[in-house]
Amino acid sequence: MTTVEERTEPGGRPLSRDELRSFLREMLLIRRFEEKVEERFRAGELPGFLHVAIGQEAVATGVCAALAREDVIASTHRAHGHAIAKGTPVERLMAELYGKVEGCSRGYGGSMHLYDLEVGNLGANAVVAGGIPGIVGAALAFQMRGEARVAAAFFGDGATNTGTFHESLNLAQLWKLPAVFVLENNGWAESTPASQHLPLPVEKLGKRAAAYGMKLIEADGQDVEAVYLAALAAREHALSGKGPVLLHLRTYRLTGHYVGDPQVYRDKEELARERATRDPIELLKARLELPDDDWAALDAEVTAEVEAAVAFAKAGTDPKPEDALKYVYA
């Protein structure tokens, strides 16, 4: 892995234009994937219920880019971006959302349970904070076996109010485990704004690290480069033996809590302002000063990829009913 120091050597921006462009591509892929998911859900094609992370793409992309393939992640209910960024092909994700055998969880999981062990995705989780302790255990296994791998848990601001979060960070710090706790702070827990669920100002949420004496690294979650560098630094720290890191990223959820959410609770102006000023894709696009045709080409490319994923998914195989009992026990 490249270290942060190498990345930030004098004489230039940490990331090359090409690298940033590849980030942009992935973020746009995530965006188009989720827009498609919204569309297909509204069309009645997707069973279950779904949460998209539109507006939060820089977190998924930046963090996962800093991880090695052999590193593992645990994801949340808002999982598509993490899964894509960690390396699961979009057609396998889409097939999962359609409940097909070709899906990344063979149709057993759905949007809230996207697994892909091959690329180190230990699973999305429909229980808030439910995946965090498992990440502590993965990091423990790595530490005990002397493997230079980290385990990273994604979770939201709302999740920091759970006992599960507390016990997990505490244990990880006590044992100085190679774990990165990625706090994806979008300021909302469903319909509840941070002011109603956090006793700290939302931007001070990183203070929770102090309760464990844990290393805190913070970055603007809408700036993919900042996220990437912060995640790289977090990974290095975690691997150094100095203990885990709370990686606090401020982001924003540009859509409803779930697909179909009428959002009666959210001020329209707040949303409009955030959309206009903090869309991570728009920010990066502007920064790269991407020519229109380049952007159009990129968009066409990822849109086609998403369309192909839908086609793949629709052509997929339905599980047999009695397969329901197939994986209850190993």
């Binding site: 069973p47 279950g48 219920f49 999962e96 409940g99 097909k100 969880s105 149709g107 057993y108 999981g109 759905g110 809230m112 349970h113 989780n125 429909a126 229980v127 808030v128 904070a129 439910g130 709302g158 999740a159 109010n161 759970t162 006992g163 599960t164 827990a189 469903e190 319909s191 509840t192 109603q196 669920h197 956090l198 009666v264 609770y265 339905d318 599980p319 047999k320 009913p321 009695e322 397969d323 329901a324 009992l325 209850v328």
Partner: protein, 326 residues
């Protein structure tokens, strides 16, 4: 008689209690502006304000635990756990604290707490958002357990739960919220511990809870066409259990099917079967058949979900099996 949906019926009981009694207040995740993830508490924030309709952090232990503490101080909190799958996080407070304070204190403490929750399959939520866990709580002395299946019942039973001096686990079923039913003009409390005979019959008793009450009623009609007369009983309160009504029914019909959506193994149907075989042994003409979910975490894909979870035809087939016996 006016008609309400199950959802409206729950809300009606809450609203009435909030209006009439200062001690009543609501706590739970997203119950305020959003009206709860099932829209049950919609409009209550506007009417009663944020002191009495309280959004909470995602803290299932503290939600239940602080409900316990407020109840002991004389309030009548109604807390909501968004999905019963998350009761797994509150078990310590429910089982070790709420259920036991009264005995441990030698009768000094009362815990008039109501914990509303909901669950159930039928909409492809996957394994962590559709469990039916009511059976666990029937095993816990000190708790009461209610599972209502109709608008009338849910309203009258919720009222009684709020005014019960003990901690009550109040289960609602997600797929029942939109169903409609007649209710008395004025809310009539329904006593805890009384079963309801939904349909009288002569040949088989189906004891069903929650969604399966409706499936059982459908199955009963189907069986009727075959000339089999089915009685459908809903215990409504699982703890304390109205053994008398249930046993009397089975003594009359001599055959019995239990039905719930929860996994069969270790489910409430096991307790029912144990009670019934004991109380109606000399009357029974066939083994008690249990209907419940197959033994698997609920898979996402609709075809598999459909397969795991029981429906009217499963009840129907169980009825046929009991009748086929001598």
């Amino acid at each position: 008689m006016p008609e309400l949906t199950y959802r409206e019926a729950v809300r009606d009981a809450l609203r009435k209690a909030l209006r009439e009694d200062e001690r009543v207040f609501l706590m739970g995740e997203d119950i305020a502006e959003m009206g709860g993830s099932m829209a049950v508490t919609q409009g209550l924030l506007e009417e009663f304000g944020p002191q009495r309709v309280r959004n909470t952090p995602i803290s299932e232990m503290a939600i239940v635990g602080s409900g316990i503490g407020a109840a002991i101080q004389g309030m009548r909190p109604v807390v909501e756990i968004m999905y019963e799958d998350f009761l797994t996080l509150s078990m310590e407070q429910l089982v070790n604290q709420a259920a036991k304070h009264r005995t441990m204190s030698g009768g000094q403490v009362r815990v008039p707490l109501t914990v509303r929750t909901q669950g159930g399959a039928g909409w492809s939520p996957g394994a962590q958002h559709a469990q039916q866990l009511e059976a666990w709580f029937v095993h816990v002395p000190g708790l009461k357990v209610v599972f209502a299946s109709t608008p009338e019942d849910v309203r009258g039973l919720l009222w009684s739960s709020i005014y019960d001096d003990n901690p009550v686990l109040f289960f609602e079923h997600r797929t029942l919220y939109p169903i409609k039913g007649e209710v008395p003009e004025e809310l009539e409390p329904i006593p805890l511990g009384k079963a309801r005979v939904h349909r009288e019959g002569e040949d088989v008793t189906v004891v069903a809870t929650g969604r399966l009450v409706h499936e059982a009623l459908r199955a009963a009609e189907e069986a009727e066409r075959d000339g089999v007369s089915v009685e459908v009983v809903d215990p409504r309160t699982l703890l304390p259990l109205d053994e008398e009504t249930i046993i009397a029914s089975v003594r009359k019909t001599t055959r019995c099917v239990t039905a719930h959506e929860a996994v069969t193994r270790g489910g409430f149907g096991a307790e029912l079967a144990a009670v019934i075989q004991h109380g109606a042994f000399d009357w029974l003409d066939a083994p008690i058949e249990r209907v419940g979910a197959k033994f698997a975490p609920l898979p996402f894909a609709p075809v598999m979900e459909q397969y795991v979870v029981p429906h009217a035809e499963d009840v129907y087939e169980a009825i046929r099996r009991t009748v086929a016996r001598g």
